[in-house]
Symmetry: C2
Subunit: 340 residues, 2 copies
DNA sequence: TTGTATGCGTTATCAC
DNA sequence: GTGATAACGCATACAA
């Protein structure tokens, strides 16, 4: 790879001049600019990032550590980062690496990025607190409540609350829950918060929570199908699934049992995944603001890098209930129903 | 951020000793190792990547430039990279950036990564040829035939050929094609290669290609539905969709028209996406070896970085026809049927 | 406007 | 076994 030295020699100038042509061309005479530029072109030269970052002690790079594939969030993050002259690189961390206590980050990226966004990449971990002292961090989606780490996420409990309340408003009273069976080490996972929302909605409506109406199962459409079948046999007139896949499975179960949707049974999912738009009738669901989540996370992170953010913030973004035919007859296009 | 200087001072040794403790502890006396290690711990020190990379002129980092979300490929790439002590960072390039001729890569990552994998991230581009001279590149999925750039991909034409041949083998003769309408600037896209496979399979079976049996449409399940309806009105007894979404839409259309599947109409998709497993009956489809694609790409790239690869290679991975109920009665679990 | 010289943090070579 | 020190490629303060 050619270096700034090679360019300087080829153009017959000093390396300082080459550097100026790259970073502040206005301060260099026109003919030298031209000579240097053609030398750069000739040699196919590009500044070495390590050298530049070392000298600048900044990388203009943000790291996104993901525990899941999250293209909407990434899209938003890219957009916001590009606007401020930052770039984003993403990496995926599996549970073992996360369990190693974010040393993952330290060993690999220290000094190579200006800050990091952690997407659903957290387990309770004392090392994280330490990490937050040394490098700007924003938590995304799920997060731990640490003194130094901001977060941006959806209020999962409120989202589930709204979903179940919608079922109640359509007159349902025996509302079943299909939820993820417990995963070890996930004390505060999304599905637990969604479960809390379900319980609170019933409680606020004065309806007792029956354990036999709560079905815990591994993930997937098929398990949703079996769970739904069971709940419907138990005379459920409404079902809330903590994932769209669960709700979709339950919807198929209701149809095969010959029940009319939404009259005999109303069904609500959450996340507005592709599957919720496939069914007929469409699946009522809750949409999170993922694109915006990426944007906000990046903006908060850059603020923090610039030292403009004094205190930590925990931001909750709006969610939207999308009402479709699985709860209201005729509503098959997911018109907006409410935001929070 | 603490530096090696800080550690040296804290431990009362030279920076050289600190470096040795990090990189070759065996050459340092035990008590100094202990002192240095505790200083490192104390200060929460991690080597700065820019400094290290600059000095080593290597980063042990591979870049993956993606034009789409491709978690299986990424998973395979991560696994293979980790095994050889490399890490992977991913970035997403939209069409505009790609059109800028990979200057994207140069401006952002030169000297920050040892090589790059381009996933479906290519358009015809003379700059790519230039880039391949200066940095190791492996193309993935779709690729251009360049003198210096290897590739790993699926033989899309053969995959489509096998899919259509399977329909022929089940006795179908009026086989319709649902394909993507032309996107400007995509001369050699996957759907065009799949279309070629469709035509070749019919030709080899001595069946003339009828333009009215080829339906071009924008993407999405709904468009597949409309296309399928049209083809079925035209008495198609088989349908091949260049995406699973098309085939799924066609399957729903056939069901709503009261046609029996697979007796009256057989349907095949491609890619084995989640949607192909949702339908009832299951959708016969073709599965690509995406995980392996990531692995092979990484291994080839590292070979190239090490200078062990003398000539460029174009590798094609096996694909598999998964036969489900949409073409053979009773086969709803996608048993393997053939590989290539 | 231009060139010289310094230092960013690290590893490795060389003496001791 | 250990410590100075040079060098990696670059941006910039300073001198000219």
């Amino acid at each position: 790879m050619p270096t700034i030295q090679d360019v300087a020699k080829a153009a017959g100038v000093s390396i300082a001049t080459v550097s100026r042509v790259i970073n502040s061309p206005a301060t260099v005479s026109v003919d030298k600019v031209k000579r240097v530029k053609s030398a750069i072109d000739e040699l196919n030269y590009y500044p070495n990032s390590s050298g530049r970052n070392l000298r600048r002690s900044a990388t203009k790079t943000l790291l996104m550590i993901c525990a899941a594939t999250i293209s909407d969030v990434l899209d938003g993050a890219y957009e916001a980062a590009a606007r401020q002259g930052y770039r984003i690189v993403a990496t995926y961390a599996d549970r073992r690496q996360l369990a190693k206590g974010m040393s993952y980050f330290n060993e690999l990226f220290m000094g190579n990025v200006d800050g990091a966004i952690l997407f659903s990449a957290l387990r309770s971990d004392e090392n994280l607190a330490k990490l937050c002292q040394t490098v700007p961090i924003v938590q995304c989606s799920s997060f731990l409540d640490l003194p130094n780490a901001s977060s941006v996420s959806t209020d999962e409990e409120a989202a589930a609350y709204d979903a179940v309340t919608h079922l109640l408003e359509t007159g349902k009273r025996r509302i079943g829950l299909i939820t993820q069976e417990n995963l070890p080490g996930a004390e505060d996972s999304y599905y637990i918060r969604r479960e809390r929302g379900y319980c609170r909605a019933l409680a606020d409506a004065g309806i007792p929570i029956r354990q036999e109406m709560i079905f815990r199962t591994p993930g997937g459409v098929k398990n949703g199908y079996y769970a739904g079948k069971q709940l419907l046999k138990d005379k459920a007139d409404g079902i809330f699934g903590v994932q769209d896949t669960f709700a979709y499975g339950a919807l198929v179960a209701a149809q095969r049992m010959g029940l009319s949707i939404p009259e005999q049974v109303g069904i609500v999912g959450i996340d507005n995944t592709g599957i919720s738009q496939l069914s007929d009738p469409g699946l009522t669901t809750v949409q999170q603001s993922f694109y915006e989540m990426g944007q906000v996370a990046v903006n908060m992170l850059i603020e923090q890098i610039r030292g403009e953010m004094d205190v930590k913030r925990n931001v909750y973004l709006q969610h939207r209930l999308l009402v479709r035919g699985s709860t209201v007859r005729g509503r098959s296009d997911g018109e907006e129903e409410g935001a929070r």
